[in-house]
């Protein structure tokens, strides 16, 4: 039988809570610091409004050559970014939607500079009105998903368990968003989807361990809660790590082979799987102890 984690394992996770809190705080502070340093998140056109044009060339060209070609157009001050081999993204925060925009600002100057050796592969224009709508919806979606999961977990378990789970979710969300900011990636709708997926994934792990805590509480109600939590984490540790590994494999495949369009999304998921696993062990379960201290009347022996 192959075993990554030996059955008898007994690591004192609860005892190492202090270090975990320090580590989490540092990660969150780095993330928030980066967001402040960059003057807020770097919103993609989905949220800020703007234009993205993806162009593939047949020959090797440099971003400077493209910038030169676009010099006297409305796109002169846009950001030009390499996006895979011979492929570039041109982005600007202005949203051009009038009909002659592409012809006058992209096709004509590029054709005169590079002949017909290019192909416009993608154009996305989002008006500021739609961007504002998306921003509002995004914030509501994240907060509602927290609340919905809080309600479900509180209903299935106990409020103190649910609080631990939610704390872990907020923790994961902050770290993933912080990592996006540190990498100076754009915060797009796909990144938001990744964040919400991470929320679902992270609570997944947490629930498995909480279930085990509940089970042990039922069996050995005399034990100290910190011991119960420790043994629950240890007993489910092998499953926690195995599942994280399989999800990590799939996300890694996505990151490496999924193509440039989806790479940022896969990156957010990579960070999310790692952080989600860590937070299950250190944040969600150990904080049950903390909420237990806040709520000593409702003893652990009620269930």
């Amino acid at each position: 039988m192959m075993e990554l984690i030996k059955p008898g394992i007994n690591i004192d996770f609860v005892g190492k809570l202090k270090y975990a809190l320090v580590l989490s705080s540092i990660l969150i502070i780095i993330g928030i610091g980066s967001i402040i340093y960059h003057g807020g998140l770097n919103p993609g056109i989905d949220f800020a409004g703007g234009t993205i044009i993806q162009i593939k060339f047949q020959k090797d060209v440099s971003a400077d050559q493209i910038r030169g070609a676009l010099q006297s157009t409305k796109l002169a001050s846009s950001i030009i970014q390499q996006f895979g081999a011979k492929e570039f993204l041109i982005r600007t925060h202005e949203s051009f939607s009038d009909q002659q925009m592409l012809a006058a600002n992209v096709q004509e100057p590029l054709t005169s500079a590079f002949n017909q050796d290019y192909e416009i592969r993608r154009v996305e224009v989002v008006g500021s009105k739609v961007g504002a709508d998306f921003t509002r919806k995004a914030i509501i979606a994240v907060i509602l998903s927290w609340i919905a999961i809080l309600i479900y977990v509180a209903w299935r378990f106990e409020f103190r368990y649910a609080m631990g789970g939610i704390l872990a979710l907020i923790h994961d969300t902050l770290i993933v968003i912080g990592a996006i900011s540190v990498m100076n990636m754009e915060f797009t709708i796909s990144i938001l989807a990744a964040v919400i997926f991470v929320i679902g994934f992270s609570i997944n792990d947490t629930i498995v361990t909480l279930d085990r805590i509940k089970e042990i509480v039922k069996k050995h109600s005399k034990q100290k809660l910190s011991d119960i939590i420790n043994s629950a984490i240890n007993q489910t540790l092998s499953r926690t790590i195995l599942t994280s590994l399989t999800v990590f494999f799939t996300v890694l495949a996505l990151y490496i082979f999924g193509g440039a369009v989806i790479r940022d999304f896969a990156f957010a998921l990579l960070i999310g799987t790692v952080v989600g696993t860590y937070s299950t062990i250190y944040i969600a379960c150990t904080s049950v102890l903390f909420f237990e201290k806040l709520q000593p009347v409702k003893t652990k022996r009620t269930r």
Partner: protein, 533 residues
Amino acid sequence: MFTSLKLRMLTTALACLAAVVFLIPTFVSDIPAPWNKFLPKEKIHLGLDLQGGMHLVLEVDTQKALEAMMGRTAENLKETLMDNRVRFRNLKTSQDGTITLELTESAAKTDLEKLMRAEFPDLEIASSSPRDGGQLVSIKINEKRALELQKITVEHSLETIRNRVDQFGITEPEIVPQGDNRIMVQLPGIKDPERAKNLIGKTALLEFKLVDDEHSLEEAIRGNIPEGSMIAYGLREDRSSGQRGSVPYLLKSRALLTGASLETAKVQISDRFGEPTVSLKFSSQGAVDFDRITAENVRRRLAIVLDGVVHSAPVIQERISGGQAQISGNFTLEEARDLAIVLRAGALPAPVNILEERTVGPSLGSDSIRQGIIATIIGSILVILFMLIYYRLSGAVANTALILNIFLIMAVLAAFRATLTLPGIAGMLLTIGVAVDANILIFERIREELRTGKTVRLALDTGYNRAFITIIDTHITGIVASCFLLMFGTGPIKGFAVTTIIGLLVSLFTAVFVTKVLFDYFTQNFNIKKLSI
């Protein structure tokens, strides 16, 4: 769960059969004759990001429609007031669609109210204040009617756009309202996005207006525009130099005839220069009106104005009774064709603004499919190998369920005509990682039970039972989180949410139900003393 193994095996077999049936159209392009009657025809529907195409969100400027309607109402009100000898001055329509007028006699307000009740039930007096012995009154449309007008405007716009797209010839377009005043248009596989945008976004308001010859154009350009007239510009291309310039015209504001009076419009090649022109045929009422208008205005110039731009302003040589007219003016063949389409489909009741546009070229779409499939295959192989190495034969059982899971997701997508997008493929791949979690949970439990010395059968049963409640919990929270992504309405992200939700539901079946069937089959038919796990 059913207790009879036979019944459970039958259920599994039926699910597999259904998956095969729904997936045949996706993988087999030509189904031979006797079969194509019975099999479903729906392939998995690819999102615009995978097959290429254009996604537009348009906003209908309903305020403009309101303004135009109030403009017409103001004219009627003016006439009604004059007919009933109610004395007023300075009747104006403002930008926000309110009509203001000054009543010169103090008693006139009752008359106005009476007239409004009788003939303009949609209007109401917004405010009134005394002025110079009379009353300054402002009138607006009532709330209910305004909402109704907004709704009608959006519906009419939707209908018009649908008409235009149909005539343009795009397969499987999707044109649906969104919110109060938005319209979403999806055009798969479009080759010339600029042209499509032009076709959809053009208001295409065609008007025939007389050129005002009584007043001086120069004077009007200097700012003294005579009442009842307006300045409009026409485009002119110099044939020899090819330069474009604009020519001003002084026109009578009132449109004698609009595109609403057309029966049809089609492209013709003119005999003289071989240039394409759009020939118009009026409806029977339109033809009568056109006949009268031309008869009354022989020797005067009649301007043909499209969306405020003068296309031509020929002199009416004689009365025209055939009900035919022509628009010429430096069109390419494509432009003429598109103009004929929009004139046939009718004008939009209000201008539309493009709020969001996403166009993906077909080459990027096929790259995305290829990369998505490669990532899915490699990701699946990694998971399958891992399960096989870690759990050996039990891992093989889980892998069978995993592969079934992938096929079932695709079958459900095809059966429910859901759209597969690039994030949708990612969602499918992630589901593979998550679905196997259910098996890991079960297997770890079984290992724990085996360690306590239980028999294989007993360990299997307790393992499944104990893990089941946890599996339900993890699936429900996963589905709940994904549901919040559905809030984003359409587009690739919805595809992600949909495949994740389907994947989670399917994995409850494959990872729990199907694997148990397999285990039970083996343990009942072979005398298994030691489980390979």
